[in-house]
Symmetry: C2
Subunit: 196 residues, 2 copies
């Protein structure tokens, strides 16, 4: 199949750039319409390639969806690293939570993708199963060593915080009258006041 | 189709009892094997009826799954009501949380069913969509007026608690090394200490 790709196409060699473009376009479309409202055809069209061309980079919709979530992690992490070392102080921790809530509010489609895949991927056969186990481990470790290292039980608190945010996002998607940012900050402020 | 059901079958008239039996058998099988590991054929067989007979009571697997969750709510609520008015004290609240964690630990398959359907049902077209909105509303209201009415902000705390438990169950399903009961009690004890 590779031998047949001699038709003219701009930037033939930049497979990693094409991949990145597909992921960014997918993120944008999913953020707007929700992941069930976006087909591989829609994504291919928005990228100006064929569906077959798309499937050359991602073997299935599931594989592309995991790449979208990994890309979100990467961007969020880079953003947070840019703010360090302030993000490692208590005030910085509060800011991280607020920023994270605001990012979620700005792209509910991506949050829904995360929530649905996260639950479906409990099934060991699911293509995103390994991703979500890895993600739980590295976010827990990152929090423990960084943003919540001031807590007397950083390990336990990391689990509590991750769980609370996961559940809050889910309930906010279900009932948009819930104020995601205010609710998250109220929780964090109570914790910060307690361990000040 | 009803005219053809004249073949001998015990307890012909007790449709509500048959329905209940199907739900109880399904709950048991799902608790043991997970809901993806249980087919309508398995359930029908365990009830000693045909799949067609089963579909006479529940039009689809989705409808049956919602009935299983509603049944769990009913049993949990009855259990909690039995323990009232103690369950409305702070010590009783702690006990409710512990009991709830223990029930989850005893039937991870049901918790997984709840977690997966809960996320999938964010889609307005999903057959369990209305159920999960209703559930969020009544559990929030029940907590607000009862188990967490001692809290200075019962409405806000109800959302926080429900979110934390939802997220904790999800992460515990993903990583069984998380101690669901200990983690839930640690959270509750901190809250209780704070507002004592």
């Amino acid at each position: 199949m590779q031998a047949q790709t001699a038709r003219p196409r701009p930037r033939r060699l930049e497979a990693s750039e094409r991949r990145r473009e597909i992921i960014e376009v997918s993120t944008q479309l999913i953020a707007e319409r929700g992941y069930r409202g976006v087909s591989l055809d829609n994504i291919a069209e928005a990228c100006g390639i064929t569906k077959q061309g798309l499937l050359h980079h991602f073997r299935s919709k599931a594989e592309l969806l995991v790449a979208v979530l990994e890309y979100r992690d990467e961007v969020d992490l880079a953003e947070s690293t840019r703010r360090a070392p302030r993000s490692l102080t208590r005030a910085g921790f509060r800011e991280e939570i607020r920023e994270s809530a605001r990012r979620s509010i700005a792209r509910p489609g991506i949050v829904q993708l995360y929530a649905v895949l996260s639950a479906e991927a409990l099934d060991p056969e699911h293509p995103a199963h390994a991703y979500f186990i890895r993600r739980l481990n590295w976010t827990r470790e990152l929090l423990r060593q960084g943003a919540v290292s001031w807590h007397p039980d950083p390990e336990g608190f990391a689990i509590e915080l991750l769980s609370f945010i996961d559940g809050l996002q889910l309930n906010w998607l279900r009932d948009p009258s819930i104020d995601l940012e205010a609710r998250a900050l109220q929780y964090v402020d109570r914790i910060l006041a307690e361990y000040s």
